[in-house]
């Protein structure tokens, strides 16, 4: 079975939603509704629609287990809509614009083989909600493997950079250490560590001061070192920080190959990396002195682009707006690159002219809107044939 996120919680939420649905009418008033009931042995009776249009299926899970039900195009398995995590004995609505064409439900009760319901033809020549070919687990294994390799190679580069950084800090070469710090931090930020991909290592390597304060010995990592380097802290203090950073990077490098990337994360990361950039970099929150959060955002774009390159073959036939994702990233990147200074450093967010900052924030917000659907489209799904 596919990974059932938060099944227990979601099942009760679905029950609540189903109850709420009884009391009000969530569908357009003009639309009609059809009851569909399934269990572990059948996937609903045949249904009939007089004409295409907005329609609500009130779907009841008659099995003793949680289930998912998809409305599919039986010709190719493309999915019009889905209901995940319907609890046993509960009813939930599925509303969509049912266009002319062929439809079949696909019922997936936990621990049972999936069952296809009867094929139903809706007449006429009306377009409705678009069906999207599901991305399968098998589709996602190769990109996930590739991404793991990319990350490992990136960590190897990083480990060399943090070793040099630690050596320069120890030798008291502060100017060199600052340059080392920037290269190493940007390298780390291309790896898309957002949202716990590296577990606790991310806190140790790239943690913020918020939880503990800038004077806490518990604060370690790139930002801690940035704070020290740009606030004139004494060499012995900085050396300890830089050495710990280098040690943790090497530990991460050793640990990483034992990890498996949850397949669902591949799609999610495509917007999460830049969500974090908007929240922490473009606000200036993560500027601990170097003024390089725009460069960090560029590194995050690079990481996002790599993920997209892996998913591209899957997305191109499924997501008509994919070209706008790329043009949006190009625009954001070009706006950020304008703020790269000749001396190799960057305009801090706090020093940006208002109009430049508005352009950057608008471009970032826009490309995030464009990236958001990818998580839904690239979510791994089961099909009748590949289960």
């Amino acid at each position: 079975m596919r990974s059932r996120r938060l099944l227990a919680v979601a099942a009760s939420a679905a029950a609540a939603a189903a109850m709420a649905a009884c009391g009000s009418s969530p569908a357009p008033a003009s639309s009609s509704s059809t009851a569909i009931s399934f269990n572990d042995g059948s996937c609903g009776a045949a249904w009939h629609l007089a004409s295409p249009g907005w329609h609500t299926f009130e779907i009841t899970n008659g099995a003793d287990y949680g289930a998912e039900i998809d409305l599919t195009d039986p010709a190719n398995g493309a999915v019009y809509d889905e209901l995940e995590n319907i609890g046993p004995g509960t009813t939930a609505p599925m509303s969509l614009n049912v266009g002319s064409g062929k439809y079949a439900f696909l019922c997936m009760v936990e621990d049972f083989d999936p069952i296809a319901g009867p094929t139903v033809t809706v007449g006429g020549h009306a377009a409705g909600t678009r069906a999207i070919l599901p991305v399968t687990y098998n589709d996602l294994y190769p990109p996930a493997k590739q991404y793991a390799k990319y990350t490992e190679a990136g960590l190897q580069v990083l480990a060399g950079q943090t070793a040099k950084l630690a050596a320069d800090v120890r030798a008291g070469k502060i100017a060199a250490a600052k340059r080392d710090w920037l290269s190493a931090h940007l390298q780390y930020e291309t790896l898309g560590a957002a949202y716990d991909a590296f577990g606790n290592y991310d806190d140790e390597i790239d943690g913020r001061a918020d939880a503990v304060g800038v004077n806490s010995p518990k604060w370690t990592g790139f930002y801690r070192l940035e704070y020290g380097l740009w606030h004139g802290q004494p060499g012995h203090e900085l050396t300890a920080v830089a050495v710990t950073l280098n040690t943790n990077v090497h530990k991460l490098l050793a640990w990483w190959p034992t990890q498996q990337i949850p397949l669902i994360d591949i799609g999610l990361r495509t917007h999460e990396i830049l969500e974090n950039a908007l929240e922490f970099q473009l606000t200036g929150h993560d500027d601990y002195g170097s003024g390089t959060t725009l460069a960090t955002t560029l590194a995050n774009i690079q990481g996002t682009r790599y993920l997209l390159s892996l998913l591209h073959p899957l997305l191109a036939p499924r997501y008509p707006q994919l070209p706008e994702v790329y043009s949006g990233l190009n625009l954001l990147q070009s706006l950020l690159e304008k703020e790269h200074l000749r001396n190799g450093w960057w305009v801090p967010v706090s020093a940006l002219p208002a109009s430049a900052r508005e352009d950057i924030d608008a471009a970032c917000g826009q490309v995030l809107q464009e990236l958001a659907p990818i998580a839904s489209i690239a979510e791994p799904r089961h099909t009748l044939h590949e289960f």
Partner: protein, 447 residues
């Protein structure tokens, strides 16, 4: 704070709104269709009780209870839809509803074509949000098209979306310099102002007004989500209008006085054509501005702690009205006309009273009257722990110089200035109305 007055009843507008028909066009650049994850460009029409029944705001008021009807509707529940299409924008004439937000934006569209798409998107969203309906499900194609903060169906709740342009839009970015209306300038700073540039002006302005705060905020989220690349919010203020207390009077500001008693008649087209609407062919009015109206927004802090330490007799002299009843100091009845001719030296209503300066009620000053619309704001605390409350003053007019600026010039150094501080706002042109389902905001400007 002109408690200036009025003729508060409004024209009935009982026509049914045009159905927001879905027109899923070819994929346009992003901000046109972020809302549906790219799956479709349209929205689902209607289906909300009341949405199609039309809305006659204040239509059946009694003569002595001008604000009562709308107050009652607000207290009892959701307001019906206000028709979006028309010669003028629908949010200009109605009296203040319970909740408003004024948001200034700067345009970030990268070209004239993108700017046009931005205006089209704002139009599409406004058309849907003001009519209400069920947002389209997106299948597995992306996140939900709607925030869901109003439940599964979007209620109109009397929402109006007023869209305007500021003078800075007419710089060299979009090739609009030659179309700058001579009457549209950056906001002027008056002698008693304390303007904060970060809360002034802007390329674009939206005013969202509805029966409830959640509806206003829902609309703002929806429009912002669908226009991320095209415009970036610059400053924002939320306002509220209180129920009239006692019932049948006029809502009060945070100084305790009724606000907006005296206003031009919104029932009189000739008066509106003289004072509110930009007239076709008028001097200084490019043809694309005809049917629009100039909007002045002034964000005015009120030092209410100080005010509360002033005795009510002195407060009343500053306004020229009784605080509790709203009557002019020389007359009986809220809407009674003060007789300044009988009081030439200001023995009853001081010559410096806000009401008297703002509207001297002479033939010479008649054409400087404005359509005043004000809300209260409450933004928490200031650095010394006093309440940061005040007024979101807005007014509509044909000519800012002839009207708002003339009135404001008469008010320079009025006694009230010690208790208030204008700190932000801007001058905008509220665009002509969107005629029908094929029209969009600013079409004549951008053509």
């Amino acid at each position: 704070m002109s408690s200036e007055s009025a003729e508060p009843s409004q024209d009935g507008m009982a026509t049914a709104p045009d159905a927001p028909v879905s027109t899923p066009g070819p994929a346009r650049r992003s901000f046109l269709r972020g809302m549906v994850g790219g799956a479709a460009g349209g929205v689902v029409a209607g289906g909300i009780a009341g949405a199609a029944s039309g809305y006659a705001y204040g239509g059946s008021r009694t003569g002595t209870d001008p604000a009562g009807a709308s107050n009652l509707a607000e207290l009892q529940g959701r307001l019906p839809a206000v028709p979006f299409h028309g010669q003028h924008q629908a949010g200009i004439l109605p009296e203040p509803k319970a909740a408003t937000a004024v948001i200034s934006f700067n345009a970030t569209a990268q070209s004239r074509a993108e700017l046009t798409e931005l205006f089209q998107t704002v139009t599409d969203r406004a058309r849907f949000l003001t009519a209400g309906g069920t947002p389209p499900p997106v299948g597995i194609g992306g996140p939900s098209s709607d925030s869901g903060t109003l439940g599964p169906a979007v209620v109109p709740d009397g929402l109006t979306v007023t869209f305007g342009v500021g003078s800075t839009l007419f710089d060299d970015r979009y090739g609009l310099a030659s179309r700058l209306p001579p009457h549209l300038t950056p906001m002027k700073s008056f002698p008693n102002d304390n303007l904060d540039p970060a809360q002034c002006d802007g390329d674009l302005v939206l005013q969202l007004t509805a029966g409830h705060e959640d509806v206003v905020l829902h609309a703002l989220r929806d429009i912002a989500k669908n226009t991320r690349g095209g415009m970036q919010a610059n400053w924002r203020i939320d306002g509220f209008s209180s129920p009239a207390r006692p019932a049948g009077t006029v809502p009060r500001n945070q100084l305790g006085f009724m606000d907006g008693i005296s206003n031009p008649s919104v029932k009189s087209p000739p008066e509106l054509n003289k004072l509110v609407w930009v007239q076709p062919g008028a001097a200084g009015a490019p043809s694309w501005t005809a049917g629009g109206s100039y909007l002045v927004v002034r964000l005015i802090r009120m030092f209410v702690e100080f005010w509360d330490r002033v005795d009510v007799y002195e407060q009343q002299l500053m306004f020229g009205r009784y605080r509790d009843s709203g009557y002019p100091l020389d007359a009986k009845g809220i809407y009674a006309t003060p007789d300044y001719a009988a009081d030439p030296t200001g023995d009853v209503i001081p010559l410096s009273a806000h009401m008297r300066l703002a509207n001297p009620r002479t033939p010479q000053t008649a054409d400087s009257r404005i359509l005043r619309r004000a809300w209260n704001y409450d933004r928490g605390l200031d650095p010394v722990g006093d309440l940061d409350v005040g007024l979101v003053f807005t007014c509509f007019q044909q000519d800012i110089k002839r009207q708002f600026e003339t009135v404001q010039t008469r008010l320079i150094d009025e006694p009230l200035v010690d208790y208030i501080s204008p700190f932000g706002g801007g001058y905008f042109l509220a665009l002509p109305g969107v005629a029908d389902s094929r029209d969009y905001f600013g079409r004549a400007l951008l053509a």
